[in-house]
Subunit: 339 residues, 2 copies
């Protein structure tokens, strides 16, 4: 495939599909020369949207899929029964090698199930993990796992730490990134049963840079590069962050618009606060990869507009160019050591 | 005891003890006419601090305790071995009926262990729960449990919901407050094993106003009056909130001070933002009660200054005047129904 990266985009997934997904695909091929997009979904609707832009046909093509998986569908049944849905067809393109990656802003549950059933796990990986970057004061931390499978066991968390380290090191270009386990205290004996059992395993794991427990209070300050946790906890952190950021920024906006005096002041402080707003906007970070699968599966936020879709597509380049999956496969083959 | 409320204050607990604890006690008796404080700890040190203020001796007295439980001490051993520590002596005052409540900004672990071993559980209560109020856009929510005992079972969570409802209704004066379970999705089949098993129990519990799952994203918007969760999750939410608020407000402050222009603007917007700062300052909410014990035990934040200690002491009035413990006892006796 040379230097190009082919992304199958679930054109029907997300709150603003297909208008914003198609627009995001167009913006992606315009911005990234390596990218080619296959738009998967209802051909007629997609072509109508695509007609609004002028793009070279060798960069974007359409593959028809007549069904759509809705947010209310039960994930397992949806993947099994809606065989001609945009998500299933897009995932099959990855499985068959026609695309390098699939990006979807659709149902998280369906993406997780489809990723495992259609794309399949890397041999030796016990569970794939959803691993978004979350913003902090010192930069980004990788929060793993955020929702692939709840009620994980200690050995799963160790693999999350290993996969997260390989991914972070290659994508962020930082040697030996730090790994912390999300905990309710910093002492080794603190935690619930899962954390207490996982702690010594992480401590004795040679191919990660484990720094111990990270209290939730330290996360926004950049407690560790990779934050390991069980999916329920990760999902709560991710969504709570989103909620707090939204509420805070909403209140700030209201506060600034509350009187003539504050409005005048707002004009002067706005540029400084805009940076903050951008830094902590969790939803604008593109997408989260589902690590541990034979192909790349990226989950974009459900309310993604074209900018987020574009970013999520662009993310696939670094993943592909750094051969993340080859490195994960090798790590498992070598019994845990990624290099 | 009439209208008065006697609070045993662990004068040696917290980052700024005994200077700020003593100061907080003085401020409390000045502000609340019903309050009497027993300062428990190293008599000499306490009296030195107390000498700085002029307070009527019938409002504040000192009970000597020669030992101090440190943050590094293992809670169970500390409670068992340091029999003359300020926390243990203060709790004994409650057990023996000399005080109505104990307030401590010391080690959370020791407070939880001491509460159960010394003050004791209300008969029928399976587990006490730490229940702080957290701020949201629409007001306060009670987050229960935040750290009393991790790895809870479904029947514990149901009692948390019941105790939280009684407490919220009486202290906030809201009839039939809403109860939600913290979850990673809003559908009934979503969640980890614990949440899935707890959901139907809450649904069929007649004496609470259960409204279903609340996603973490909705918490800052005021998803429910009472948010039920397992202690590990609750503790993560509470501390993460604290961390995010601190980081956000720090960044805003930096942003506002970054140039002459923003500094001028800051003068104009400051009053409006100050309200926000106050609303979302989790650490200033006084203390969290440990619900389900025979006496009132309030955990104040470790970094409490006099203002927070004063608020935590003041909280005891509403708890006492509303006979929360009598109502909890009755609820258990009546098989779940609090009225």
């Amino acid at each position: 495939m040379g230097g190009k990266v082919v992304v199958a985009l679930d054109a029907m997934g997300g709150d603003y599909a297909p208008a914003e997904t198609v627009k995001g695909a167009v913006e992606a091929v315009q911005e990234y020369s390596e990218i080619e997009v296959i738009l998967v979904g209802k051909e007629e609707e997609i072509k109508k949207e695509l007609g609004k832009y002028s793009v070279p046909s060798e960069k974007i093509r359409v593959v028809n899929a007549t069904e759509v998986i809705n947010m209310g569908d039960v994930p397992t049944s949806a993947i099994r029964e809606k065989k001609d849905s945009s998500l299933v067809v897009a995932m099959k393109l990855v499985k068959e090698g026609e695309a390098d990656a699939v990006v979807s802003a659709g149902s998280t549950g369906a993406i997780l199930v489809g990723g495992q059933l259609i794309v399949g796990r890397i041999k030796g990986i016990k569970r794939p993990a959803l691993a978004p970057f979350i913003p902090g004061k010192k930069g980004f931390s990788l929060l793993i796992d955020c929702g692939a499978n709840v009620d994980a066991r200690p050995e799963h968390l160790v693999q999350f730490a290993q996969m997260g380290s390989v991914y972070f090191e290659n994508v962020m270009g930082k040697k030996s990134p730090t790994v912390g386990i999300v905990n309710i205290g910093t002492e080794e004996e603190k935690g619930n049963q899962l954390v207490k059992e996982t702690y010594p395993l992480l401590k004795s794991c040679k191919d990660i840079n484990f720094i111990g427990s990270v209290e939730a209070r330290e996360i926004p300050q950049g407690g560790a590069d990779i934050l390991v946790c069980e999916a329920f906890v990760g999902n709560v952190i991710l969504k709570f962050f989103e909620g707090v950021a939204k509420t805070f920024l909403g209140c700030i906006r209201e506060g600034l618009m509350s009187s003539l005096r504050t409005k005048l002041g707002a004009v002067m402080v706005k540029p400084a606060l805009k940076g903050l707003l951008k830094t902590f906007d969790v939803s604008s970070q593109g997408g989260a990869p589902l690590l541990g699968l034979k192909g790349l599966v990226v989950k974009a936020h459900g309310n993604s507009k074209s900018a987020e879709i574009k970013t999520a597509i662009g993310q696939c380049i670094a993943f592909q160019k750094n051969s993340i999956n080859e490195k994960l496969t090798q790590m498992i083959r070598d019994g845990g050591s990624p290099e």
